[in-house]
């Protein structure tokens, strides 16, 4: 079982004078139990890739296969869940609870089951069901709306969970909750996380791909990336700050050290051993 995109290409407005080639020759594969991190600068094609993986756009080059069948809107329904970058735009129902219950209901759950699952998902994203369930999803703060949209996808337990900048607009507690929800989901589902910053999910990922100008600039593992922070520069990204400190210190002291993402560990190696003059 896997969701597999091989040498995908996509052009918006194909065949028109304002055609915009957003992706070329990009591959992505994820199986249940895995977490793949997709990095890349603004406009590099990350959201386009997720729209294709969710069956919302049809790749015009390459192959898209979902658990052995051709990937399209129909085969993806209920199997692939996409948390949109502008998650708020996914909201539509009269009340928060109805909105979150829509997914499971659509998957054939009974009304009671759907409402129970929705209530549980609201709690999981840190929204007290008693306070929020009857509110209109259009009268929420930015972060609250985002949480409702996330709950709506989690509630139907997709086998492939695609999350586009899932922590944008969330406060610290929300970000922590989001991270543990995605890790929990990985136990059963294949998870793809799109993020600008490598900081948040790098330590958790099984694989990392970096997009640049619509192409695949790098396909690697977190271990390799952390060991060689200069790889971030080469693909037009910034190394996570903690790595950047270690790298700058190493070059100032002309001494190398094993790089780490963990601030406490980094502080130890920066102050003791590891290249003290």
């Amino acid at each position: 079982m896997s969701l597999s995109l091989v040498s995908i290409g996509y052009t918006y407005g194909r065949g028109t004078s304002f055609g915009m080639r957003a992706l070329h020759d990009v591959s992505l594969e994820v199986a249940p139990g895995e977490l793949v991190l997709v990095l890349g600068a603004t406009g590099s094609g990350k959201s386009t890739l997720l729209r294709i993986a969710a069956g919302l756009l049809r790749a015009d080059e390459g192959e898209a296969v979902l658990d052995g069948v051709s990937l399209d809107r129909g085969s993806a329904r209920g199997v692939v869940g996409l948390i949109f970058q502008d998650a708020e735009s996914q909201l539509f129902a009269d009340t928060v609870l109805e909105d979150v219950a829509f997914g499971p209901r659509n998957m054939g759950a009974s009304r009671e089951e759907a409402l129970a699952s929705a209530t549980e998902s609201l709690r999981a994203v840190g929204l007290d069901p008693a306070t929020f369930k009857d509110r209109s999803p259009f009268s929420l703060s930015g972060g609250e709306a985002r949480r409702v949209a996330i709950a709506g996808v989690l509630a139907f337990h997709p086998r492939y969970l695609l999350a586009d900048e899932p922590t944008a607009g969330l406060d610290a507690k929300g970000r922590r909750a989001m991270r543990s929800l995605l890790l929990e989901a990985r136990a059963k589902a294949g998870v793809v996380v799109v993020s600008h910053g490598a900081e948040e999910f790098l330590a958790d990922a099984d694989r990392v791909i970096v997009l640049s100008g619509g192409g695949c600039a790098l396909s690697s593992t977190p271990r390799e990336l952390v060991a060689t922070p200069s790889m971030f520069d080469r693909v037009g990204l910034r190394a996570p700050d903690v790595l950047e400190v270690q790298r700058l210190a190493a070059s100032r002291r002309s001494a190398d050290m094993p790089y780490t993402l963990d601030p406490a560990e980094a502080a130890r190696s920066l102050t003791h051993g590891g290249g003290q003059r």
């Binding site: 406009g43 703060s141 607009g169 610290a172 600008h196 910034r238 400190v245 100032r252 502080a267």
Partner: protein, 266 residues
């Protein structure tokens, strides 16, 4: 001032009994948990919402003063949380020019401002693109450019970097600093403490109230309260703390990798 939203049978208090005075040339960071009232405060400042009680004045004009609201809107530019809500034109350059045109500026001044604003946010080359068809981060940059082009006395930004990549984020933060240095005021809503370190003043909202008003450096010292306000040190600020625990003198203001390495290698 206070503000409650009424929707159907519900009344949601969003800003409670807040008193606040922001002077010229201040760079104020506004922090706080989801739902703590930050965006409501922003909407009150530019008169999009009127307070349920109390009043707000901008350069002496009350936001409830219908004759004065136009003047307020000229001196206060807001970048709202959702960039989709702010697109007004069918091309990137027309979108940025929209505000300055309404100010009645000369054509060449407008052209200059648009070019400068697009340059500042790194959108050069996309002038003719259709705003609705941009990527998330591109739309966010566009919204910022639109506000910059107004060259307002008060630049108010609601989570302006939430969709920017780390390179773009630093570019935008540098622009905000330059704006504040030029004698204008910046009010910057953010969840990110290291972004707030660049401000001259930090406000924390909690359940509609302002619970902290002081220097960003002092905010970091309130370690026991950060958690209850749903704030968290970034990995870089955590590293700085750890280094201090190891006896390294790291200035409070050090909020970039370079500044920390400076302290380390001194």
């Amino acid at each position: 001032m206070s503000h409650s939203y009424t929707t159907g049978a519900h009344s949601v208090p969003a800003v409670r009994d807040v008193s606040l005075d922001i002077g010229p040339a201040e760079y104020v960071a506004v922090l706080g948990a989801n739902g703590s009232g930050k965006s409501t405060l922003v909407r009150l400042i530019n008169g999009l919402l009127l307070p349920s009680s109390g009043e707000i004045t901008v350069n002496g004009i009350g936001t409830h003063d219908e004759a004065g609201i136009g003047t307020i809107r000229e001196s206060v530019s807001v970048v709202f949380q959702n960039p989709d809500d702010q697109i007004v034109a069918t091309s990137v350059e027309d979108d940025v020019a929209f505000g300055p045109e309404n100010l009645g500026l000369a054509r060449d001044v407008i052209r200059e401002r648009v070019a400068w604003a697009l340059e500042s946010v790194g959108l050069c080359g996309l002038e003719r693109r259709e705003p609705h068809l941009l990527s998330g981060g591109q739309k966010q940059r566009l919204a910022i450019a639109g506000a910059l082009a107004m060259q307002p006395h008060w630049l108010v930004l609601d989570e302006p970097t939430s969709m920017l990549d780390p390179v773009g984020r630093v570019e935008v933060l540098d622009v905000l600093e330059a704006v504040a240095d030029s004698g204008r005021s910046v009010i910057h809503v953010t969840h990110d403490l290291s972004e707030a370190m660049r401000a001259s003043r930090a406000l924390v909202m909690h359940e509609g109230c302002i619970v902290f008003d002081g220097s960003p450096g002092d905010l970091l010292c309130a370690t026991d309260r950060l958690e209850s306000w749903s704030l968290e040190l970034s990995p870089l600020l955590t590293l700085a703390e750890e280094l201090r625990d190891h006896g390294i003198v790291v200035p409070r203001a050090a909020s970039t990798p370079a500044a920390i390495v400076e302290a380390l290698c001194r």
